[in-house]
Every structure is written in structure tokens, then in C-alpha cells.
């Protein structure tokens, strides 16, 4: 069993029990596992927040619906700016990684960086994320993602929170340039779950768990 098979197997096991799309930092000393399955492929990240503005972790992605590139990189997530407001919070993060990409047995160094800007109140959510990926001589790609969301009721801390969201992905390198995904997000305490269905007919299932 080679390392790729082992990691892919771990992926599949984690996919059943772990979790998605949340802020890339938690609290100092906190560990977070995120798992995303969407029209771009399958991603799992494991992050440990070691200062109020930095988290270090591992990023693994198996791309689909294009070149089926496998990526494995350590990542550093940095909070660049935060606005703590009476009725909301805004953030700008950078996430970056450097590691290895594999495509049909061709191993290449890879680099990626992404910026995430978000704002949320108890009622509304907005986010925008551009992402830049360089997979050696395999591929260079750019994509961007935007989300809006509304909470149908104002949940308190110990309640089940529900969000109705709409996500748009733009992939300049793919023939289907824009992909729209309506989704629903639930979270309760340290567990977050999202499910959606994209305009290119892929089921999205994301999970996040904080420890």
C-alpha cells in the first residue's frame, strides 16, 4: 500500500465521520478538522490554532471534474484583519500551503494560496475567497468562491443553528465556468454540517468538528 492509497483510504474513512466550510482558525489551543466534498473534489484539513491569529495544519485534496490531481501540503492560516462589532464580525484570512502534487504518477512541487474575506451577523453571512494553485508542470489554476446566507431564525448558543446559503464558484480553467450551489448549513456547538446540490449536478457534503 503506497502513501497515496493510505491517505485516500484515510480520507474515505474520515469522510463518514468528520466535517466543512468554516473559518480557518478556531481558538488558541483548539484543533479543527474540516472535510469538504463538492464539485471540485474531496478536501480534508486538520488545523491547530497556536496564536490568536495563526493556525498550522495539513491540507489534502483529491481533485475531480478536471485533472484528478492529488495534493498534500502543510498549511499556514493567518488572520490578517478582524473587526469585532456589536452585531457582527468581519475577517480577512490568508491560507497558504506548499507540498506535493501527484497526477498519473507524476510528482510535482505545488504551492497554493487563498484569501478569505467574510462578514457575519446572527442573521446574515457573506464570504468571498479567491484561490491560486500552482502544481508544477501539471497545472496552474485560479478559482473564486462567493457565498451569501441567511438564518431563518435567530438561534442562541445552545440551540441548533440553521442557515440557508447560496454559493457560486467560478473556475476560469473549466468549461463550466460558473457553478451555483444552494445549500443548507446546520451547526450545534462544535459540530457543523452542510449539504447542497450544485448546478453541475454534484452533491456537496461538508463537515467541521472543533476539539
Amino acid at each position: 500500500m503506497n502513501i497515496k492509497t493510505l491517505i485516500t483510504l484515510s480520507f474515505a474513512i474520515f469522510a463518514g465521520v468528520l466535517a466543512g466550510e468554516a473559518k480557518p482558525l478556531s481558538y488558541v489551543g483548539g484543533t479543527m478538522v474540516m472535510q469538504e466534498n463538492d464539485e471540485t473534489g474531496h478536501t480534508i484539513t486538520l488545523d491547530y490554532t497556536f496564536t490568536p491569529t495563526e493556525a498550522f495544519g495539513l491540507y489534502i485534496k483529491q481533485e475531480e471534474n478536471g485533472k484528478d490531481i492529488f495534493m498534500l501540503t502543510p498549511e499556514l492560516n493567518t488572520l490578517l484583519k478582524r473587526w469585532n462589532l456589536p452585531d457582527g464580525q468581519g475577517n480577512i484570512f490568508n491560507m497558504s500551503g506548499a507540498g506535493v502534487a501527484n497526477y498519473h504518477g507524476n510528482n510535482q512541487p505545488c504551492l497554493w494560496t487563498a484569501f478569505l474575506a467574510d462578514y457575519e451577523s446572527r442573521r446574515f453571512f457573506f464570504s468571498y475567497e479567491p484561490r491560486f494553485v500552482w502544481d508544477g508542470n501539471i497545472e496552474k489554476s485560479v478559482w473564486q468562491r462567493a457565498r451569501i446566507g441567511i438564518a431563518p431564525y435567530l438561534a442562541n448558543y445552545n440551540d441548533l443553528n440553521t442557515w440557508i446559503m447560496f454559493q457560486v464558484d467560478h473556475h476560469p480553467a473549466k468549461h463550466d465556468h460558473f457553478v451555483a450551489t444552494p445549500l443548507i448549513r446546520f451547526f450545534y456547538k462544535t459540530y457543523l454540517f452542510e449539504v447542497g446540490y450544485s448546478s453541475d449536478q454534484h452533491i456537496m457534503v461538508n463537515w467541521t468538528i472543533q476539539f
Binding site: A22, K23, L25, S26, Y27, V28, G29, G30, P52, R82, W83, N84, L85, P86, D87, G88, Q89, E120, S121, R122, L154, A155, N156, Y157, N158, D159, N161, F187, Y188, K189, T190, L192, T208, Q210
Partner: protein
């Protein structure tokens, strides 16, 4: 006179041994999922007996153990470590 003195000292000792209830008003605390960091951070402190997060009133209420307290600087640091800003602190014995 002696009784008054004993009573005063007794009350003073009771006060010293009492627990604190600290109410911190916190900005940015709108997401229950993210605010779990506050609960986890405070539960890890040996001085803390209970912690309660109230998103609606933007309040974090901490009850300390008997005879223990958390000063304002530490309170602000811990809430800052969880990603939020303290704007007011009220204390009750």
C-alpha cells in the same frame, strides 16, 4: 465592641472566600459554532466553575470557584484568544 470586631472580621473572611460572577460584554460574538472557543477556553481554567455564553445579549458569564477570581487583564486575554473583544466587565460576589 469585641462582638462587632469579630463580626466584621467574620464577614470580611466570608467575602474573601466568596466566588465571583463575572459578566463580560463581548463584541463580535455572533456565531455559536465559533463561540464554543470561549466555553472551551474558560473551562480549561482552574479558577472557573461555570461558563455561559449568551449570543442574544452578547454576554459571557463566568462563575469562579470559591475564593478564586479572574482579573480583567486575564479575562480580556482569554476572550481575545478565542477571537473576540471585551467591551465591558461587571462583577458580582
Amino acid at each position: 465592641m469585641r462582638y462587632i470586631l469579630v463580626l466584621t472580621i467574620g464577614l470580611s473572611l466570608c467575602r474573601t472566600a466568596a466566588a465571583d460572577t463575572i459578566k463580560a460584554t463581548v463584541n463580535g460574538m455572533v456565531c455559536g459554532f465559533c463561540a464554543t472557543g470561549i466555553e472551551k477556553t474558560f473551562k480549561a481554567q482552574q479558577e472557573v466553575k461555570t461558563v455561559n455564553v449568551d449570543l442574544q445579549n452578547k454576554l459571557v458569564t463566568i462563575q469562579t470557584k470559591e475564593g478564586q477570581t479572574i482579573d480583567d487583564a486575564k479575562l480580556k486575554k482569554l476572550i481575545g484568544n478565542a477571537g473576540y473583544s471585551v467591551v465591558a466587565i461587571a462583577r458580582e460576589k
